[in-house]
């Protein structure tokens, strides 16, 4: 089932993909592009967006299946357990897939696809992009679903070490099965401004969704304080969300209209120009598995001030980031320190260091190692796999076994109705060998 010697055919599955923009979407797209450059075959499957449904091709021949399911809640498809089995089976056979790679625990399509792929005997990999708690009712359910999916996964990937600890605790996976491969940033797109900005006024940039989770309430407390202490500091706030109203009110209350610019939602293509107009990047999130925004800011040569939450302390070395507790007075203190060390920062030097520390090509190579490891796992029949589900819980274990048995029966019925040989495989296009980039 392999495409070429040592090369794999990978199906990436998630509810989150282009035309939406976000961490998971960019991750899947950029990782797929780098894997294509390495010579693998990558196909992406996601749900239909508005009227974008069917098969589309993206750069470098990346084939995307927009399966005709509409999202029903927060970009997720309706979970129907077995409804996606026929279409996933067809895609897996047509494209001669050898591995299925699912992304994001919150994506119902991902869980269903991984379940069906396991039933049909394919090797399965899961990447977790977020941190979750343990005590609220939503997290408890999510963790149970994750336990089900990860009970029988070949390998798992997390984007930071804190995320690995969180995933291992939530799902009960042995830690040796979890690989830590962080996200990266496209340093060719995020470059600092050619000329250094003048130090007066000092511009602090904030680009995030203005929601509770991203610490918009902390911004409301911090910005007036900083503006009061430093008369030559200006703020630029990009992004939109429910908390925007509070920030506008704060602006009115302290008469900061000329010192705080609110740009509204910033399209992804314009993020670089917004970042290039500032000196310091402020991130006030209350929880982050891995903050790509910080990488983009550092790649543009900005000094970062961030809250010390989740995986943020692992992302940048100590001289490129100032960390603070998620507390307004501590954050003001951190901004003071950042303003003090700002004259010693060289944006071009920072950008050069980022080029060495993070690259998607490196991420793809490390992911390739995980794929090789996954393919070396032994094939197991249904009876050998069922005991793994029984460990999920006294009642849940038996329920999950039942779900898998029904899935197996449905698959066999589908095979009787439409045998594997009747599904037309996609012909392999002979692509001219892409010049592999010599990195550094």
């Amino acid at each position: 089932m392999e495409f070429k010697e040592g090369k794999h055919s990978i199906l990436m599955v998630s509810d989150f993909f282009y035309p939406n923009f976000g961490g998971v979407e960019n991750h899947i797209y950029l990782l797929s592009q780098c894997l294509l450059k390495l010579g693998h075959k990558v196909v992406v499957m996601t749900h239909a967006y508005a009227n974008r449904s069917g098969v589309r091709y993206m750069t470098n021949g990346l084939k995307v299946y927009y399966a005709p399911w509409k999202p029903f809640l927060m970009q997720n498809t309706l979970p129907t357990f077995y409804g996606t089995l026929p279409i996933i089976r067809t895609i897996l056979i047509r494209e001669k897939i050898s591995l299925v790679h699912g992304h994001q625990a919150f994506s119902t399509l991902c869980h269903e696809a991984l379940m069906h792929a396991r039933t049909m005997g394919y090797k399965v990999i899961f990447t977790d992009h977020s941190l979750y708690g343990f005590s609220d009712i939503g997290s408890i359910h999510m963790n149970k679903v994750l336990q089900f999916t990860l009970a029988d996964v070949s390998q798992a990937i997390c984007v930071s070490h804190t995320s690995k600890e969180n995933t291992v605790l939530r799902s009960g996976l042995p830690p040796e099965k979890v690989f830590v491969i962080p996200n990266a940033v496209d340093t060719t797109m995020f470059k600092p401004a050619p000329e250094r900005l003048s130090m007066d006024p000092i511009v602090i940039v904030v680009i995030s969704r203005l929601v509770y989770r991203k610490g918009a309430d902390l911004l409301v407390e911090v910005i007036p304080e900083v503006c009061h202490l430093y008369p030559n500091v200006r703020f630029i706030i990009g992004g939109d969300g429910p908390k925007r109203v509070r920030l506008e009110e704060m602006r009115e209350k302290h008469s900061l209209q000329d010192r705080v610019d609110m740009l509204g939602a910033v399209p992804h293509a314009k993020v670089r120009s917004v970042l290039n107009s500032g000196h310091i990047f402020l991130n006030s999130s209350l929880t982050e598995a891995f903050c790509i925004a910080i990488l983009e800011a550092a790649s543009c040569g900005l000094l970062t001030v961030s809250t010390r939450v989740g995986g943020v302390p692992e992302v940048l070395p100590d001289d490129m980031i100032v960390l603070a507790k998620p507390d307004p007075s501590d954050m003001v203190h951190a901004i003071k320190k950042a303003i003090r060390i700002l004259p010693h920062i060289d944006p071009q030097e920072m950008h050069r260091r980022m080029k060495e520390m993070y690259s998607w090509h490196d991420v793809a190579k490390r992911t390739e190692i995980v794929y090789d490891r996954a393919l070396r796992c032994s094939n197991q029949s249904l009876l050998e796999r069922l005991p793994r589900y029984l460990t999920c819980g006294a009642w849940a274990g038996k329920l999950f076994c039942l779900v898998m048995i029904i899935d197996f029966i449905l698959w066999r019925l589908l095979q009787l109705w439409q045998p594997d040989s009747e599904v037309e495989p996609v012909p392999d296009f002979k692509r001219t060998e892409l010049k592999t980039e010599v990195r550094k």
Partner: protein, 295 residues
């Protein structure tokens, strides 16, 4: 060539760390995890004493249902009910005066005026309640009343009172409001089955007094003196059990069973299952804001 291997660092930058695989699990793995940080060790006697307030409220509701049953059977007359109402108002005020520290004469006067408005309003509206459910069959009324009383008991806020003493800081939450409304609707349904308008007025006044103010009075009593609260509860339980025994033997057994369950079985069960509590905290938790968000 490097003879000493570099130490593994918990960082994400710089690519693969030389000498270590990506799935390397260091000794510091899960080092910052904290288990059961906020768990309180419970003492059996204290839990049993605290559960007395639940059974006390159960008995109060049982007494109200008893009064309803007797009134429907015409065992209790209107005069008795009116005297009962006045006694309850008087004793309630008396207890509040003794125990609550924040009452003043002006406040009492305003309360008296409000109560007289309320009572007059009820008297004027009682003909409406009298004919409210005339077209509905009795079975539906009994079934609806039973479900509403059970709903009321389920969602009741046993730790405080929905009607707060003046100066209280917390706002009532959704479930305690729903339970209060359920009890009011149940009393209206029962009242609509009675033969005379005066009876309707008296029984609604009685039920509303108990449902609206009994939690407040018992809360003030409990805050004032715990021993008084315990004595009051035991006396109440004894009275309720005797009255229910006289009415119906099976209901007596059910009530007794319920009281034993709430006071003895549940505390034991709670303490037994506490040992399975597994609370996990660590650097992956969402940060809590230390200030209140004022809109």
């Amino acid at each position: 060539m490097e003879t000493t291997q570099r130490r593994w660092r918990k960082v994400a930058y710089g690519g693969m760390q030389p000498g270590f695989d990506d799935n390397h699990t260091d000794d510091t793995f899960l080092q910052e995890m904290v288990m059961n940080a906020n768990v309180v060790k419970r003492d059996m006697l204290k839990v049993m004493l605290d559960s007395v307030s639940i059974s006390q409220y159960l008995c109060i509701v049982a007494l109200v249902v008893l009064v309803w049953a007797h009134t429907l059977n015409s065992t209790i007359t209107e005069n008795f009910l009116i005297i009962l109402d006045i006694t309850l108002v008087g004793s309630g005020f008396f207890i509040l005066l003794l125990t609550a520290k924040m009452l003043s004469f002006k406040l009492l006067l305003s309360y008296a005026i409000k109560i007289s408005f309320f009572t007059t309003g009820l008297y004027v509206l009682s003909p409406i309640y009298h004919t409210l459910t005339r077209s509905i069959s009795s079975d539906s009324i009994w079934a609806l009343t039973t479900s509403l009383v059970i709903l009321h008991l389920f969602l009741h806020n046993y730790s405080g009172s929905t009607i707060k003493a003046p100066g209280a800081l917390e706002n009532p939450n959704l479930t305690s409001n729903i339970s209060l409304n359920a009890s009011i609707v149940a009393s209206l349904l029962i009242a609509s089955r009675l033969p005379s308008r005066l009876l309707v007025f008296a029984i609604i006044l009685f039920s509303l007094q108990v449902f609206l103010f009994a939690p407040l009075v018992t809360y003030c009593l409990k805050k004032y003196s715990f021993r008084l609260h315990l004595m009051f509860s035991f006396v109440l339980m004894a009275i309720t059990l005797t009255c229910v025994y006289r009415l119906h033997k099976l209901l007596f057994v059910v009530l007794l069973g319920l009281l034993v369950f709430v006071n003895l079985v549940c505390p034991y069960w709670l303490i037994r299952i506490q040992e399975y509590k597994f609370e996990i905290n660590g650097p992956w938790d969402e940060a809590k804001l230390c200030f209140n968000i004022t809109d």
